[in-house]
């Protein structure tokens, strides 16, 4: 198991290299001269020249990349083009806001999804099953930014129950978390259901029946543990959708998180800030996947631990 974890961590290295290379190239593929952008369109050529030199834009590309990488490793993303503040300082508080939002939403989707999925599977083809699966299908198909807008319309503007924007107070948390957690809950519910139904048809469930185990015990003891294994993977993958969902949700609810920061930076053509936030979000995503892989491995003991 330990070897597996270490190997997985080592496997991340090329991926992280790939991510930084892509993000680095982003800057260079962008039409227009970044120095010119920084200096402003009317700036005299000498100023642009000076900025180019300061940014190292005259160095060969590989050298520039290495310099870029060195900085990234030390979390030095440079300064924002908008306000010349160090990007890392701006990111830090926003990072925690996004993390909070993501964690609450994930918890909501897991909780709702698994319960709904079990009910559905156990009462296959019943009214409850059909209703749950229908709701899940809607949850899956709804644009989450629109769901956010609709929730805001009803519960903030019409009913006045929750503040429409911002983040921090318990009231401000509710709507964004529902907005973001719905799609995940839908996916998890569907996965739990189909996984349960598949497990129930396995040979070892028949063995349990032949032993005289009661149907309830079969479902909650013998089937559920096995059925949840693929659910873990789906939850992990869902986290990626969730992270990207924060971009939209934060925009809708005007939350000062990383997602909104990315959009604002893109709008302002503040490339260092865009680069920084994309790298941070990707690393976060990659790490979550690592944790999911490891826990999947742990749960699914059938996989040879050394292989």
């Amino acid at each position: 198991m330990i070897t597996y974890i270490i190997r997985r961590i080592f496997q991340l290295i090329p991926v992280l290299f790939g991510v930084t290379i892509l993000v680095f190239l982003m800057m260079h593929l962008t039409p227009g001269n970044p120095a010119q952008l920084m200096a402003g369109e009317t700036a005299p050529p000498e100023v642009v020249e000076r900025i180019e030199k300061r940014l190292g834009l005259h160095d060969p590309l590989p050298v520039q990349y290495v310099n870029f990488l060195k900085k990234v490793v030390t979390l030095d993303f440079g300064v924002s083009m908008r306000n010349s503040l160090p990007i890392i300082d701006e990111l830090r508080p926003k990072f925690w806001v996004t993390i909070e939002l993501a964690i609450y939403s994930t918890l909501l989707s897991i909780f709702m999804g698994i319960i709904a999925g079990i009910v559905s599977a156990v009462r296959k083809y019943s009214f409850a099953d059909v209703a749950i699966m229908l709701v899940a299908l809607f949850g899956l198909s709804m644009p989450n930014f629109w769901l956010g807008l609709m929730l805001m319309q009803w519960f903030s503007i019409n009913l006045g129950w929750f503040p429409p924007t911002g983040w921090g107070s318990p009231g401000q948390v509710v709507l964004p978390v529902i907005t973001l957690g719905t799609a995940g809950a839908a996916v998890i519910a569907r996965m739990t259901r189909s996984s349960m139904l598949e497990v129930i048809s396995q040979d070892y469930i028949r063995t349990a029946r032949a032993k005289g185990v009661r149907e309830r015990v079969i479902i909650y003891r013998h089937a559920l543990k096995n059925a949840l294994i693929p659910v873990v993977t789906v939850t992990g993958l869902q986290f990626g959708t969730l992270l990207s969902g924060t971009v939209l949700t934060e925009t809708v609810f005007a939350i000062n998180g990383m997602g909104r920061y990315v959009i604002d930076s893109i709008m302002a053509r503040d490339f260092p800030a865009v680069q920084a936030s994309i790298i941070v979000i990707s690393i976060m995503f990659v790490l979550v996947n690592l944790i999911v892989d490891i826990s999947y491995r742990y749960l699914n003991k059938r996989i040879d631990l050394n292989g």
Partner: protein, 346 residues
């Protein structure tokens, strides 16, 4: 024996890498086939028997280069298959065909029988296009199917009929050698008998050579001229049918033969029950690979690997790989383990 050597396998090794460790490098190998040497003469049937994991199917696949062998030589008709270029290999494959175990998986469900047979002939370009339909009709008759059934899809046939189609496909390119990889294992006994009869008939009619891979000793006894017994990637005994069945020398062969249930309630056999399971081919035991289960094991077996050899009391061409063939035969060397050991000590 003055017959022509059709297939000569020398020191064949097939190791499958196991990736692992921190860098996902090859940390070990499954030694599926480890230094196997034998010859098949034209027109005979040689069987390879053994339990799962002994490397019998891997040997068959390596001979055809369906998996690239790790090491060794496979001489077919005087040509070294292993060193052939890809395009030359493709041409040589006309002469060596294979029939698989699973009659449901070995035919493309999307092709009709006609398409399957036609494609085989097209690949090797054996029959002119205009004559192919006649040839297909002929092949169908040969394997006991009706020519009009050629336009049906595999799922419309029963398991036994599908296996006949597989045989027809193999025959369509006029091969010299057919490797039958557990070709009748998935069939019910009554159907199995039909297919075995068919295989024997073709051997007579087309002068075919068979390498027959099977775990079913009853079937092997029926069809073979010579038999190779494999255990954990190595040959433990090789000989003609009578030598193997009536005069087995290796303790493993003896145990294997004694383990087959006989359909006659009056025969009370002196069964040798082997201890434990076949060890992992990743770290095969030192010395003789069978020593962990052998009832006659002594210290020498644990360190020195025995070679295949013929002793005085054995027929020519009959070889076994055991240090104590003669001693066990004469009763000098007695069992060191209980021969009827059902409950196992740790």
């Amino acid at each position: 024996m003055n017959r022509k050597e059709l297939l000569k396998v020398e020191n064949l090794k097939q190791y499958f890498p196991i990736k692992g460790g921190i860098f996902g490098r090859t940390i070990n190998h499954v030694k599926a086939v480890d230094d196997v040497t034998f010859t098949v003469y034209e027109g005979e049937t040689v069987s390879i028997v053994g339990e799962s994991g002994c490397g019998k199917s891997t040997t068959g696949r390596a001979i055809l280069r369906l998996d690239e062998p790790t090491d060794g030589k496979v001489e077919f008709n005087g040509e070294d298959i292993v060193s052939l270029s890809k395009s030359k290999l493709r041409r040589t494959r006309k002469d060596m065909q294979i029939i698989f175990q699973d009659p449901y998986a070995s035919l493309n469900p999307r092709q009709t029988v006609r398409q399957i047979l036609n494609e085989a002939m097209e690949i090797q370009n054996v029959v002119p296009r205009s004559e192919r339909n006649d040839r297909i009709a002929e092949l169908m008759e040969t394997v006991g199917l009706k020519p009009f059934q050629a336009d049906r899809f595999p799922h419309e046939f029963s398991g036994g009929q599908r296996q006949r189609i597989g045989i027809a496909r193999a025959l369509s390119v006029d091969p010299k050698l057919i490797i039958c990889d557990e070709a009748v294992s998935a069939l019910d006994v009554s159907i199995q008998a039909q297919v075995l009869n068919l295989l024997k008939k073709f051997q007579r009619e087309f002068n075919l050579t068979y390498l027959f891979i099977s775990h079913d000793l009853g079937v092997v006894r029926h069809i073979s001229d010579r038999i190779i017994v494999m255990y954990l990637g190595k040959i433990v005994e090789i000989g003609d049918k009578d030598s193997i069945f009536k005069n087995p020398q290796h303790p493993y062969t003896k145990a294997l033969l004694s383990a087959i249930p006989v359909p006659d309630p009056d025969i009370k056999k002196n069964r040798i029950i082997l201890k434990g399971d076949v060890p992992s081919p990743i770290d095969p035991p030192e010395g003789c690979r069978f020593h962990t289960r052998c009832p006659f094991v002594v210290d020498k077996c644990r360190s020195v690997s025995p070679e295949l050899e013929t002793r005085n009391h054995m027929k020519k061409g009959h070889q076994a790989a055991c240090h104590f063939i003669e001693e066990i035969h004469s009763g000098e060397h007695e069992a060191t383990r209980d021969l009827r050991n059902v409950r196992q000590e740790s």
